[in-house]
Protein backbone atom coordinates (compact mmCIF):
# COMPACT_ATOMS: atom_id res chain seq x y z
CA UNK A 1 0.00 0.00 0.00
CA UNK A 2 2.80 2.38 0.86
CA UNK A 3 5.18 0.99 -1.73
CA UNK A 4 3.76 2.91 -4.66
CA UNK A 5 4.75 6.24 -3.13
CA UNK A 6 8.00 7.33 -4.70
CA UNK A 7 9.96 10.44 -3.93
CA UNK A 8 9.97 12.68 -6.95
CA UNK A 9 9.33 11.29 -10.36
CA UNK A 10 12.84 11.33 -11.76
CA UNK A 11 13.31 9.31 -14.96
CA UNK A 12 17.07 8.74 -15.29
CA UNK A 13 18.52 9.36 -18.73
CA UNK A 14 21.43 10.79 -20.66
CA UNK A 15 19.64 13.11 -23.07
CA UNK A 16 20.62 16.72 -23.70
CA UNK A 17 17.75 17.84 -21.47
CA UNK A 18 19.02 15.62 -18.66
CA UNK A 19 22.49 17.04 -19.09
CA UNK A 20 21.53 20.68 -18.75
CA UNK A 21 23.19 22.04 -15.62
CA UNK A 22 20.57 21.81 -12.86
CA UNK A 23 21.18 25.45 -11.93
CA UNK A 24 20.51 26.55 -15.49
CA UNK A 25 17.49 24.27 -15.68
CA UNK A 26 15.95 25.79 -12.56
CA UNK A 27 16.51 29.32 -13.86
CA UNK A 28 15.03 28.42 -17.25
CA UNK A 29 11.95 26.95 -15.59
CA UNK A 30 11.55 30.12 -13.54
CA UNK A 31 11.78 32.17 -16.75
CA UNK A 32 9.26 29.86 -18.41
CA UNK A 33 6.77 30.22 -15.54
CA UNK A 34 7.07 33.99 -15.55
CA UNK A 35 6.66 34.00 -19.33
CA UNK A 36 3.45 31.96 -19.42
CA UNK A 37 1.92 34.18 -16.78
CA UNK A 38 3.03 37.37 -18.50
CA UNK A 39 1.84 36.68 -22.02
CA UNK A 40 -1.75 37.26 -23.04
CA UNK A 41 -1.38 36.13 -26.61
CA UNK A 42 -3.05 32.80 -27.19
CA UNK A 43 -0.74 31.51 -29.90
CA UNK A 44 2.19 32.09 -27.52
CA UNK A 45 0.73 29.34 -25.33
CA UNK A 46 1.02 27.14 -28.38
CA UNK A 47 4.67 28.11 -28.71
CA UNK A 48 5.37 27.28 -25.06
CA UNK A 49 3.47 24.00 -25.37
CA UNK A 50 5.59 23.13 -28.40
CA UNK A 51 8.70 24.07 -26.38
CA UNK A 52 7.78 21.77 -23.49
CA UNK A 53 6.72 18.91 -25.75
CA UNK A 54 9.91 19.33 -27.75
CA UNK A 55 11.94 19.07 -24.55
CA UNK A 56 9.94 15.97 -23.58
CA UNK A 57 10.67 14.46 -26.98
CA UNK A 58 14.41 15.08 -26.65
CA UNK A 59 14.43 13.75 -23.09
CA UNK A 60 12.42 10.70 -24.21
CA UNK A 61 9.82 11.37 -21.54
CA UNK A 62 6.67 9.51 -22.63
CA UNK A 63 3.72 11.81 -23.29
CA UNK A 64 1.61 9.61 -21.04
CA UNK A 65 3.90 10.37 -18.07
CA UNK A 66 3.75 14.08 -18.73
CA UNK A 67 -0.05 14.03 -19.02
CA UNK A 68 -0.33 12.03 -15.82
CA UNK A 69 1.44 14.81 -13.95
CA UNK A 70 -1.68 16.97 -14.30
CA UNK A 71 -3.83 14.48 -12.47
CA UNK A 72 -3.23 15.81 -8.93
CA UNK A 73 -4.04 19.34 -10.13
CA UNK A 74 -6.94 18.46 -12.40
CA UNK A 75 -9.48 19.46 -9.79
CA UNK A 76 -7.96 22.92 -9.38
CA UNK A 77 -7.78 23.43 -13.15
CA UNK A 78 -11.42 22.47 -13.63
CA UNK A 79 -12.54 24.44 -10.57
CA UNK A 80 -10.82 27.69 -11.60
CA UNK A 81 -12.12 27.20 -15.14
CA UNK A 82 -15.73 26.99 -13.96
CA UNK A 83 -15.32 29.87 -11.50
CA UNK A 84 -13.94 32.13 -14.21
CA UNK A 85 -16.69 31.10 -16.56
CA UNK A 86 -19.45 31.87 -14.08
CA UNK A 87 -18.12 34.87 -12.21
CA UNK A 88 -16.59 37.11 -14.86
CA UNK A 89 -19.12 39.74 -15.84
CA UNK A 90 -17.30 41.58 -18.62
CA UNK A 91 -17.52 41.59 -22.36
CA UNK A 92 -20.51 40.46 -24.39
CA UNK A 93 -23.25 38.42 -22.84
CA UNK A 94 -23.23 35.19 -24.80
CA UNK A 95 -25.60 32.94 -22.99
CA UNK A 96 -28.13 33.17 -20.22
CA UNK A 97 -29.81 30.19 -18.65
CA UNK A 98 -31.89 31.07 -15.61
CA UNK A 99 -29.47 33.01 -13.39
CA UNK A 100 -26.33 31.73 -15.02
CA UNK A 101 -24.78 34.22 -17.45
CA UNK A 102 -21.76 33.53 -19.52
CA UNK A 103 -19.79 36.43 -20.96
CA UNK A 104 -17.21 36.39 -23.71
CA UNK A 105 -14.43 37.58 -21.40
CA UNK A 106 -15.34 34.82 -18.97
CA UNK A 107 -14.54 32.24 -21.61
CA UNK A 108 -11.28 33.97 -22.48
CA UNK A 109 -10.15 34.21 -18.83
CA UNK A 110 -11.17 30.64 -18.08
CA UNK A 111 -9.34 29.16 -21.04
CA UNK A 112 -6.29 31.34 -20.46
CA UNK A 113 -5.91 30.38 -16.81
CA UNK A 114 -6.48 26.71 -17.55
CA UNK A 115 -3.80 26.80 -20.26
CA UNK A 116 -1.41 28.59 -17.94
CA UNK A 117 -1.91 26.07 -15.15
CA UNK A 118 -1.50 23.12 -17.49
CA UNK A 119 1.67 24.60 -18.98
CA UNK A 120 2.94 25.35 -15.48
CA UNK A 121 2.53 21.73 -14.43
CA UNK A 122 4.13 20.47 -17.66
CA UNK A 123 7.13 22.74 -17.22
CA UNK A 124 7.82 21.96 -13.58
CA UNK A 125 7.24 18.26 -14.23
CA UNK A 126 9.83 18.32 -16.98
CA UNK A 127 12.25 19.72 -14.42
CA UNK A 128 11.61 17.01 -11.85
CA UNK A 129 11.35 14.25 -14.45
CA UNK A 130 14.78 15.00 -15.91
CA UNK A 131 16.73 16.10 -12.81
CA UNK A 132 17.55 13.86 -9.85
CA UNK A 133 16.29 15.17 -6.49
CA UNK A 134 19.85 15.39 -5.23
CA UNK A 135 20.94 17.51 -8.20
CA UNK A 136 17.93 19.71 -7.61
CA UNK A 137 18.69 20.37 -3.95
CA UNK A 138 22.36 20.78 -4.78
CA UNK A 139 21.58 23.34 -7.49
CA UNK A 140 19.09 25.13 -5.28
CA UNK A 141 21.72 25.47 -2.57
CA UNK A 142 24.23 26.91 -4.99
CA UNK A 143 21.69 29.31 -6.51
CA UNK A 144 20.52 30.54 -3.13
CA UNK A 145 24.02 30.80 -1.70
CA UNK A 146 24.40 34.53 -2.48
CA UNK A 147 21.36 35.10 -0.27
CA UNK A 148 23.25 33.84 2.77
CA UNK A 149 24.64 37.38 3.02
CA UNK A 150 21.22 38.41 4.25
CA UNK A 151 21.28 35.31 6.50
CA UNK A 152 19.06 33.23 4.27
CA UNK A 153 19.73 29.62 5.41
CA UNK A 154 20.51 28.20 1.96
CA UNK A 155 22.76 25.41 3.16
CA UNK A 156 20.50 24.39 6.02
CA UNK A 157 17.50 24.28 3.71
CA UNK A 158 19.32 22.08 1.21
CA UNK A 159 20.58 19.81 3.99
CA UNK A 160 17.05 19.41 5.33
CA UNK A 161 15.76 18.53 1.88
CA UNK A 162 18.57 16.02 1.36
CA UNK A 163 17.91 14.33 4.69
CA UNK A 164 14.18 14.27 4.00
CA UNK A 165 14.80 12.64 0.62
CA UNK A 166 17.15 10.14 2.23
CA UNK A 167 14.76 9.18 5.04
CA UNK A 168 11.34 9.17 3.37
CA UNK A 169 11.85 5.68 1.89
CA UNK A 170 13.22 4.44 5.23
CA UNK A 171 10.26 5.81 7.17
CA UNK A 172 7.76 4.45 4.63
CA UNK A 173 9.37 1.05 4.92
CA UNK A 174 9.08 1.30 8.67
CA UNK A 175 5.44 2.43 8.51
CA UNK A 176 4.72 -0.55 6.30
CA UNK A 177 6.38 -2.87 8.80
CA UNK A 178 4.48 -1.47 11.77
CA UNK A 179 1.24 -1.62 9.80
CA UNK A 180 1.76 -5.26 8.96
CA UNK A 181 2.65 -6.06 12.56
CA UNK A 182 -0.53 -4.39 13.77
CA UNK A 183 -2.67 -5.97 11.08
CA UNK A 184 -1.33 -9.32 12.24
CA UNK A 185 -2.66 -8.44 15.68
CA UNK A 186 -6.09 -7.62 14.25
CA UNK A 187 -5.84 -3.88 13.58
CA UNK A 188 -8.09 -2.71 10.77
CA UNK A 189 -6.93 0.19 8.61
CA UNK A 190 -9.32 -0.21 5.70
CA UNK A 191 -12.92 -0.20 6.87
CA UNK A 192 -15.06 2.35 8.66
CA UNK A 193 -15.64 6.04 8.09
CA UNK A 194 -12.90 8.62 7.94
CA UNK A 195 -12.83 9.12 11.72
CA UNK A 196 -12.53 5.43 12.40
CA UNK A 197 -9.77 5.19 9.82
CA UNK A 198 -7.93 8.15 11.35
CA UNK A 199 -8.25 6.60 14.78
CA UNK A 200 -6.84 3.34 13.49
CA UNK A 201 -3.77 5.25 12.34
CA UNK A 202 -2.86 6.50 15.83
CA UNK A 203 -1.13 3.29 16.93
CA UNK A 204 0.79 3.45 13.66
CA UNK A 205 1.88 7.06 13.98
CA UNK A 206 2.99 6.97 17.61
CA UNK A 207 5.76 4.38 17.19
CA UNK A 208 6.67 5.94 13.86
CA UNK A 209 7.22 9.34 15.48
CA UNK A 210 9.07 7.94 18.46
CA UNK A 211 11.39 6.07 16.10
CA UNK A 212 11.83 9.11 13.90
CA UNK A 213 13.05 11.15 16.86
CA UNK A 214 15.45 8.42 17.89
CA UNK A 215 16.72 8.26 14.33
CA UNK A 216 17.17 12.03 14.24
CA UNK A 217 19.22 11.89 17.43
CA UNK A 218 21.45 9.13 16.12
CA UNK A 219 21.83 10.82 12.74
CA UNK A 220 22.90 14.05 14.43
CA UNK A 221 25.59 12.12 16.35
CA UNK A 222 26.76 10.40 13.18
CA UNK A 223 26.91 13.69 11.29
CA UNK A 224 28.90 15.37 14.05
CA UNK A 225 31.25 12.40 14.17
CA UNK A 226 31.90 13.04 10.50
CA UNK A 227 32.89 16.61 11.29
CA UNK A 228 29.65 18.24 10.17
CA UNK A 229 29.52 21.81 11.44
CA UNK A 230 27.15 23.60 9.09
CA UNK A 231 27.83 25.08 5.69
CA UNK A 232 30.82 27.18 6.70
CA UNK A 233 34.06 26.07 5.08
CA UNK A 234 32.28 23.16 3.43
CA UNK A 235 33.31 22.03 -0.05
CA UNK A 236 31.45 19.78 -2.49
CA UNK A 237 32.70 16.76 -4.38
CA UNK A 238 30.59 17.51 -7.42
CA UNK A 239 31.72 20.36 -9.59
CA UNK A 240 29.02 21.78 -11.84
CA UNK A 241 30.39 23.08 -15.13
CA UNK A 242 28.50 24.69 -17.97
CA UNK A 243 28.66 23.09 -21.41
CA UNK A 244 27.31 23.58 -24.92
CA UNK A 245 23.99 21.98 -23.84
CA UNK A 246 23.45 24.87 -21.46
CA UNK A 247 24.38 27.36 -24.16
CA UNK A 248 21.88 25.75 -26.54
CA UNK A 249 19.12 25.74 -23.92
CA UNK A 250 19.75 29.38 -23.11
CA UNK A 251 19.76 30.26 -26.84
CA UNK A 252 16.34 28.65 -27.31
CA UNK A 253 15.04 30.60 -24.35
CA UNK A 254 16.47 33.85 -25.67
CA UNK A 255 14.40 33.16 -28.80
CA UNK A 256 11.32 32.74 -26.63
CA UNK A 257 12.16 35.95 -24.83
CA UNK A 258 12.40 37.79 -28.16
CA UNK A 259 8.95 36.53 -29.17
CA UNK A 260 7.62 37.56 -25.80
CA UNK A 261 9.00 41.09 -26.12
CA UNK A 262 7.77 41.54 -29.70
CA UNK A 263 4.29 40.06 -29.42
CA UNK A 264 3.61 40.49 -25.69
Amino acid sequence: MLNDITVGQYLPGKSAVHRIDPRVKILLVVFYIVAIFVTDVFWMYGVFAAYVLGAALIAKVPLRVLLRSIKPLLFIVVFTFIMNLLLVREGELLLQVWKIRIYSDGIIYAVRLALRLILLVFGTSMLTLTTSPLSLTDALERLLKPLSIIRFPAHELAMMMTIALRFIPTLLEEADKIMKAQKARGADFETGNIFQKAKALVPLLVPLFVNAFRRADELAMAMESRCYHGGKGRTRMRILTLSWVDAAAVAVNLGLLALLIIFG
Binding site: L134, E218, S225, T235
Partner: protein
Protein backbone atom coordinates in the same frame (compact mmCIF):
# COMPACT_ATOMS: atom_id res chain seq x y z
CA UNK B 1 56.79 -0.84 22.93
CA UNK B 2 54.53 0.54 20.24
CA UNK B 3 53.27 4.09 20.14
CA UNK B 4 50.20 4.94 22.20
CA UNK B 5 47.51 6.41 19.92
CA UNK B 6 44.67 6.64 22.39
CA UNK B 7 44.75 7.12 26.08
CA UNK B 8 41.89 7.33 28.51
CA UNK B 9 43.00 8.68 31.87
CA UNK B 10 40.80 8.17 34.90
CA UNK B 11 37.64 9.18 33.03
CA UNK B 12 34.23 9.46 34.66
CA UNK B 13 31.01 10.44 32.95
CA UNK B 14 27.45 10.82 34.15
CA UNK B 15 24.20 11.64 32.40
CA UNK B 16 22.19 14.44 33.97
CA UNK B 17 18.74 13.33 35.03
CA UNK B 18 15.82 15.60 35.87
CA UNK B 19 14.02 13.75 38.60
CA UNK B 20 16.48 11.23 39.98
CA UNK B 21 20.16 11.10 40.77
CA UNK B 22 22.54 11.47 37.83
CA UNK B 23 23.28 8.22 36.04
CA UNK B 24 26.96 7.39 36.53
CA UNK B 25 27.74 5.69 33.22
CA UNK B 26 31.54 5.56 33.54
CA UNK B 27 33.60 5.43 36.70
CA UNK B 28 37.34 6.08 36.70
CA UNK B 29 38.08 4.31 33.46
CA UNK B 30 41.72 4.17 32.33
CA UNK B 31 43.44 2.39 29.47
CA UNK B 32 45.90 2.99 26.63
CA UNK B 33 45.70 1.64 23.10
CA UNK B 34 48.77 0.90 21.00
CA UNK B 35 49.00 1.72 17.32
CA UNK B 36 47.89 -1.08 15.02
CA UNK B 37 46.14 -3.14 17.67
CA UNK B 38 42.64 -4.60 17.46
CA UNK B 39 40.93 -4.16 20.81
CA UNK B 40 37.53 -5.65 21.56
CA UNK B 41 35.33 -4.13 24.26
CA UNK B 42 32.62 -6.31 25.75
CA UNK B 43 30.12 -5.83 28.56
CA UNK B 44 26.41 -6.42 29.06
CA UNK B 45 23.68 -3.85 28.31
CA UNK B 46 24.16 -0.57 30.11
CA UNK B 47 27.75 -1.25 31.13
CA UNK B 48 28.88 2.01 29.51
CA UNK B 49 30.36 0.90 26.19
CA UNK B 50 28.51 3.38 23.98
CA UNK B 51 29.20 6.18 26.42
CA UNK B 52 32.89 5.32 26.23
CA UNK B 53 32.79 5.27 22.43
CA UNK B 54 31.29 8.76 22.33
CA UNK B 55 33.96 10.05 24.70
CA UNK B 56 36.71 8.78 22.43
CA UNK B 57 36.00 11.23 19.59
CA UNK B 58 34.83 14.15 21.66
CA UNK B 59 31.07 13.75 21.10
CA UNK B 60 30.91 13.67 24.90
CA UNK B 61 33.48 15.36 27.11
CA UNK B 62 34.67 13.65 30.30
CA UNK B 63 33.31 15.06 33.57
CA UNK B 64 36.53 13.94 35.22
CA UNK B 65 39.82 12.78 33.78
CA UNK B 66 40.85 13.23 30.15
CA UNK B 67 40.90 11.49 26.79
CA UNK B 68 43.91 11.90 24.49
CA UNK B 69 43.61 11.04 20.80
CA UNK B 70 47.08 11.02 19.21
CA UNK B 71 48.08 13.25 22.11
CA UNK B 72 45.22 15.72 21.49
CA UNK B 73 42.94 16.40 24.43
CA UNK B 74 39.25 16.09 23.46
CA UNK B 75 38.52 18.94 25.85
CA UNK B 76 40.29 21.37 23.50
CA UNK B 77 37.63 22.84 21.20
CA UNK B 78 40.14 23.93 18.58
CA UNK B 79 41.11 20.30 18.02
CA UNK B 80 37.58 18.84 17.84
CA UNK B 81 37.48 18.39 14.04
CA UNK B 82 41.03 17.09 13.89
CA UNK B 83 40.22 14.57 16.61
CA UNK B 84 37.03 13.40 14.87
CA UNK B 85 38.83 13.07 11.58
CA UNK B 86 41.49 10.90 13.23
CA UNK B 87 39.18 8.82 15.41
CA UNK B 88 36.29 7.67 13.21
CA UNK B 89 33.18 6.32 14.88
CA UNK B 90 30.85 3.81 13.21
CA UNK B 91 27.50 3.24 14.89
CA UNK B 92 25.12 0.35 15.26
CA UNK B 93 22.25 1.21 12.96
CA UNK B 94 23.46 1.63 9.39
CA UNK B 95 20.21 3.37 8.43
CA UNK B 96 20.77 6.21 10.86
CA UNK B 97 24.25 7.21 9.80
CA UNK B 98 23.90 7.58 6.05
CA UNK B 99 23.03 11.15 5.19
CA UNK B 100 22.40 11.48 1.47
CA UNK B 101 20.56 9.67 -1.28
CA UNK B 102 23.50 8.46 -3.34
CA UNK B 103 26.23 6.19 -2.00
CA UNK B 104 29.24 8.12 -3.28
CA UNK B 105 27.81 11.42 -2.10
CA UNK B 106 27.47 9.92 1.33
CA UNK B 107 31.04 8.69 1.39
CA UNK B 108 32.08 12.22 0.41
CA UNK B 109 30.09 13.81 3.26
CA UNK B 110 32.89 13.85 5.85
CA UNK B 111 35.45 15.11 3.36
CA UNK B 112 33.12 17.91 2.27
CA UNK B 113 32.78 18.90 5.91
CA UNK B 114 36.54 19.02 6.24
CA UNK B 115 36.74 21.39 3.28
CA UNK B 116 38.85 19.10 1.08
CA UNK B 117 39.22 20.11 -2.58
CA UNK B 118 36.71 18.48 -4.98
CA UNK B 119 39.33 16.63 -7.04
CA UNK B 120 40.90 15.14 -3.90
CA UNK B 121 37.50 14.15 -2.54
CA UNK B 122 36.80 12.25 -5.77
CA UNK B 123 40.02 10.24 -5.44
CA UNK B 124 39.55 9.48 -1.76
CA UNK B 125 35.90 8.48 -2.20
CA UNK B 126 36.81 6.03 -4.95
CA UNK B 127 39.62 4.59 -2.83
CA UNK B 128 37.38 4.21 0.21
CA UNK B 129 34.64 2.48 -1.78
CA UNK B 130 37.19 0.11 -3.23
CA UNK B 131 38.66 -0.61 0.20
CA UNK B 132 35.28 -1.92 1.40
CA UNK B 133 34.51 -3.63 -1.92
CA UNK B 134 31.52 -1.42 -2.76
CA UNK B 135 32.83 0.40 -5.83
CA UNK B 136 30.11 -1.17 -7.98
CA UNK B 137 27.44 0.56 -5.87
CA UNK B 138 28.82 4.11 -6.09
CA UNK B 139 25.65 5.46 -7.69
CA UNK B 140 23.14 3.30 -5.80
CA UNK B 141 20.58 4.63 -3.32
CA UNK B 142 21.33 3.56 0.28
CA UNK B 143 17.82 2.28 0.94
CA UNK B 144 18.21 -0.28 -1.83
CA UNK B 145 21.23 -1.93 -0.15
CA UNK B 146 21.40 -4.79 2.36
CA UNK B 147 22.31 -4.08 5.99
CA UNK B 148 25.87 -5.34 5.55
CA UNK B 149 26.33 -3.26 2.42
CA UNK B 150 24.98 -0.15 4.14
CA UNK B 151 27.36 -0.69 7.04
CA UNK B 152 30.27 -1.03 4.61
CA UNK B 153 29.25 2.30 3.07
CA UNK B 154 29.22 3.84 6.54
CA UNK B 155 32.73 2.46 7.07
CA UNK B 156 33.85 3.84 3.70
CA UNK B 157 32.51 7.25 4.74
CA UNK B 158 34.73 7.16 7.83
CA UNK B 159 37.67 5.61 6.00
CA UNK B 160 37.66 8.37 3.38
CA UNK B 161 38.57 10.83 6.13
CA UNK B 162 41.78 8.77 6.57
CA UNK B 163 41.52 8.26 10.30
CA UNK B 164 44.19 6.41 12.29
CA UNK B 165 41.73 4.97 14.77
CA UNK B 166 38.42 3.29 13.98
CA UNK B 167 35.84 2.81 16.71
CA UNK B 168 32.90 0.49 16.06
CA UNK B 169 29.94 0.60 18.45
CA UNK B 170 28.17 -2.71 17.89
CA UNK B 171 28.34 -2.13 14.17
CA UNK B 172 27.43 -5.74 13.41
CA UNK B 173 24.58 -6.06 15.92
CA UNK B 174 21.80 -5.46 13.41
CA UNK B 175 23.22 -7.65 10.66
CA UNK B 176 22.59 -11.27 9.76
CA UNK B 177 25.50 -13.74 10.13
CA UNK B 178 26.51 -13.16 6.50
CA UNK B 179 26.55 -9.40 6.86
CA UNK B 180 28.40 -9.70 10.15
CA UNK B 181 31.19 -11.78 8.66
CA UNK B 182 31.32 -9.45 5.64
CA UNK B 183 31.83 -6.37 7.79
CA UNK B 184 34.26 -7.88 10.30
CA UNK B 185 36.48 -9.32 7.59
CA UNK B 186 36.48 -5.98 5.76
CA UNK B 187 37.60 -4.27 8.97
CA UNK B 188 40.27 -6.87 9.77
CA UNK B 189 41.68 -6.51 6.29
CA UNK B 190 41.80 -2.72 6.60
CA UNK B 191 43.39 -2.89 10.02
CA UNK B 192 46.17 -5.10 8.73
CA UNK B 193 46.82 -3.43 5.37
CA UNK B 194 46.55 0.19 6.51
CA UNK B 195 48.00 -0.21 10.00
CA UNK B 196 44.84 1.16 11.59
CA UNK B 197 43.98 0.87 15.24
CA UNK B 198 40.55 -0.66 15.83
CA UNK B 199 38.29 -0.57 18.87
CA UNK B 200 35.55 -3.11 18.38
CA UNK B 201 32.59 -2.92 20.77
CA UNK B 202 30.49 -6.05 20.52
CA UNK B 203 28.08 -8.46 22.14
CA UNK B 204 29.37 -11.37 20.09
CA UNK B 205 32.05 -13.28 21.93
CA UNK B 206 33.20 -15.00 18.76
CA UNK B 207 34.06 -11.56 17.39
CA UNK B 208 35.85 -10.55 20.58
CA UNK B 209 37.84 -13.78 20.37
CA UNK B 210 39.47 -12.54 17.15
CA UNK B 211 40.89 -9.41 18.83
CA UNK B 212 44.45 -8.90 20.08
CA UNK B 213 43.12 -7.70 23.38
CA UNK B 214 39.76 -7.73 25.16
CA UNK B 215 38.50 -5.11 27.60
CA UNK B 216 35.57 -6.21 29.76
CA UNK B 217 33.25 -3.57 31.21
CA UNK B 218 30.71 -3.87 33.98
CA UNK B 219 28.72 -1.11 35.67
CA UNK B 220 30.80 1.66 34.12
CA UNK B 221 34.14 0.17 35.14
CA UNK B 222 36.79 -1.88 33.39
CA UNK B 223 36.85 -5.21 35.17
CA UNK B 224 39.24 -7.17 32.93
CA UNK B 225 41.76 -6.18 30.31
CA UNK B 226 43.86 -8.91 28.74
CA UNK B 227 44.37 -11.19 25.73
CA UNK B 228 41.37 -13.27 24.61
CA UNK B 229 43.12 -16.42 25.87
CA UNK B 230 43.46 -15.01 29.35
CA UNK B 231 39.98 -13.45 29.41
CA UNK B 232 38.01 -16.45 28.21
CA UNK B 233 39.86 -18.72 30.62
CA UNK B 234 37.81 -16.94 33.31
CA UNK B 235 34.43 -18.17 32.06
CA UNK B 236 32.94 -18.36 35.55
CA UNK B 237 33.74 -14.75 36.34
CA UNK B 238 32.33 -13.67 32.99
CA UNK B 239 29.16 -15.57 33.73
CA UNK B 240 28.73 -13.58 36.93
CA UNK B 241 28.60 -10.33 34.95
CA UNK B 242 26.17 -11.85 32.46
CA UNK B 243 28.71 -12.50 29.72
CA UNK B 244 29.23 -15.53 27.57
CA UNK B 245 32.36 -17.17 26.15
CA UNK B 246 33.04 -18.02 22.49
CA UNK B 247 31.53 -21.22 21.14
CA UNK B 248 34.94 -22.93 20.98
CA UNK B 249 35.59 -22.26 24.68
CA UNK B 250 32.10 -23.49 25.52
CA UNK B 251 32.73 -26.75 23.71
CA UNK B 252 36.08 -27.17 25.45
CA UNK B 253 34.39 -26.67 28.82
CA UNK B 254 31.73 -29.25 28.01
CA UNK B 255 34.48 -31.68 27.00
CA UNK B 256 36.29 -30.99 30.23
CA UNK B 257 33.13 -31.75 32.21
CA UNK B 258 33.04 -35.07 30.40
CA UNK B 259 36.61 -35.79 31.36
CA UNK B 260 38.42 -34.73 28.18
CA UNK B 261 41.12 -32.19 29.05
CA UNK B 262 42.49 -29.95 26.24
CA UNK B 263 46.00 -28.50 26.53
CA UNK B 264 44.85 -24.88 26.05
CA UNK B 265 41.83 -22.57 26.03
CA UNK B 266 40.91 -22.77 22.35
CA UNK B 267 40.03 -19.36 20.91
CA UNK B 268 38.17 -19.96 17.67
CA UNK B 269 37.10 -23.16 15.96
CA UNK B 270 40.45 -23.56 14.24
CA UNK B 271 42.26 -23.60 17.61
CA UNK B 272 39.67 -26.00 18.99
CA UNK B 273 40.11 -28.40 16.07
CA UNK B 274 43.89 -28.27 16.48
CA UNK B 275 43.66 -28.91 20.21
CA UNK B 276 41.37 -31.88 19.60
CA UNK B 277 43.77 -33.28 17.02
CA UNK B 278 46.58 -33.06 19.55
CA UNK B 279 44.58 -35.41 21.81
CA UNK B 280 45.43 -39.00 21.29
Amino acid sequence: MAEIVLSVEDVSYSYASMDEEDVKALKNVSFDVERGSFVAIIGHNGSGKSTLAKLLNGLFLPKEGRVLVLGMDTQDEDLTWQIRQNAGLVFQNPDNQLVTTIVEEDVAFGLENLGILPADIRVRVDEALEAVGMEAFAMAAPHMLSGGQKQRIAIAGILAMQPQILIFDESTAMLDPMGRREVLSAVRKLQQTKDLTVLWITHFMDEAAQADRVIVMDGGRIVMDDTPQQIFRRADELEQIALDVPMSVKIAREMQKNGVELDCVPIGMQALAEAVCRLK
